[in-house]
Amino acid sequence: MSLLEVRELTVAYPVAVGLSAFFSRRYLVAVDHVSFSLPEGGTLALVGESGCGKSSTGLAVLGLLEHVEGEVLFRGRDVLRMREKERREFRRHAQIVFQDPYESLNPKMRVRTIVGEPLAIHRRRGETGRLKEALELAGLSPPEYFLDKYPHELSGGERQRVAIAAAVVLQPKLLILDEPVSNLDVSIKAGIMNLFRDLQDQLGLSYLFITHDLADAFFLADEVAVMYLGVAVEKGETDEVLSHPLHPYTEALLSVAPGSGREKLILAGDVPDPLHPPPGCRFHPRCPRARGRCSEEVPPEVEAAPGHRVRCFYVSRGERDPHLEEPKPIH
């Protein structure tokens, strides 16, 4: 059984537009019926550009957002409908590491307090031994050197390692990694990426890895879900998606990743305003393969190959519709 099973997850944010907010509430749908599952010890990457809903998905999985529909099953129990006591227990097993280590650590707390905080909140004995162990695990050694430091006394990489130490101190099962290396320099980022690999081997962690960087996603993840405007347009094993991208958006995204060595399929324009998403397939206004149908109906999710799912009308059973010409680079 998978550790995490997300079904038809939908996340909305209320938007206040002037006086009208007073009379009727409008909602921005950030995540639209997204489903995926994460096996124990596995890594799923949610990739996409900003505003695609990947971070909202991560926060919703932890039960930190309001206006959420669908199901988030952690070991078969729905996080969104848990009672207080059960949810508390869930919080012990699921932790999160954020993008910006400058923001995610309280500047007034010492490393000792930050890493010990999960223990304090869950009333576990906060012996220094466990703190040291967590710091060592996160690659901060000797731990004694770091225990009494404040965040501002540490480098960016060290701070992110402190955040990781705090995330693993309770020996969780699931770690949500929300763009954990996006603000770091290359050489520091490499160390953190290796660390995630090591921690997974040592602790059997499962990762939900949220990133805009495809190369990072394919480095760490067994499976990817590509998101566009709140919709998961393609899901599958990383190698499969990398070698046979089926959705035109995935294809374009892979082609523009620096160093991909692919012919560039540069999409013109910008991602549409999520407050006014296009009807039908959300990608159709920028899609090189769009047909009349795409602007009218929402394409259903089809399993094109075992475990490889796509939301596109013109993909079936592992092949693109042969009647369609190959997409050409735009402009």
Binding site: S187, H212, P258
Partner: protein, 323 residues
Amino acid sequence: MERILSVKDLRVTYRTPAVAVEAVGGISFSLAPGEILGLAGESGCGKTSAASALMRILPHTAEIGGEAFIGGTEILSLPEEEMSKIRWRKIAMVFQNAQAALNPTKTIGYQIAEPLMIHLRYPRRRALEEAASLLARVRIDPKRLTDYPHQLSGGMRQRAVIAMALACRPLVLIADEPTTALDVMVQAQIIELLKELRDEYGLSLIYISHDLLLLAEICDRIAVMYAGLVVEVAPTGGLFQRPLHPYTRKLLGAVTVLGVRAQRLETIPGAPPRLAPPPPGCRFAPRCDRVSGACREGMPPLEPVGKGRRVACWNWRGEDVPS
């Protein structure tokens, strides 16, 4: 060969009453017409300080040394009133944060027209016409001339800033991490645009980025900086095929590449040295896996090693010699 820009021994030192930080420790490079030179390096390596020194937009606490020639004029020692005639007309710059480069209370049309009115004394009407054609050139609908910056998307704002920088037809454009804050698709659009502008106007470009793979997509040559110095210069292809400096090697090994299934990434132990003042010897020596006695004594000079390549390392040959 003709050089549009040549920089000799550029130094930037930030002075406060307490310390003097040598952010750029004497770098030299030149730029051919129509060339795109990449300036690579991690944060704090001095790449932005070097670029800002060429634009002469550093704060007063910064002391600039060395020489830089643009079309025969030495610009680092020019008095400010002379420099203001060169800035934007001969050398221009775009920054990472396009939002900060734009005035939120003025239309983008006006902001693109402004340098034309000030520097080239265009009448207002002609300046606005020119602004419209510049906007069209950077692929923004000229109807958006009357839009304010907040009405544009991030990508469009950066295009508008590029249009502003190009208004006076500069010879050299410095692009300082212009796409770092943008999404990959928009980044690809901007890179495409800059390449076209180079082909069309014969513009020379200095492209600054921490992202080596991105630089590989746009640059003819790449200079890798570490702790205020250029440690290696090479044509893009050569640099990726056979990096010579140990730092470059490590850096390339640390990058995740799409489609390359690495088990582990290279890491570089330690941190860059403090530059107040810089340590003696090779600045990379404490983190280098090829360090030898000579490295601790003197900083190796950036020496030519054939085929347009230069490297600053005593032991660049290591085990193997480039063919």
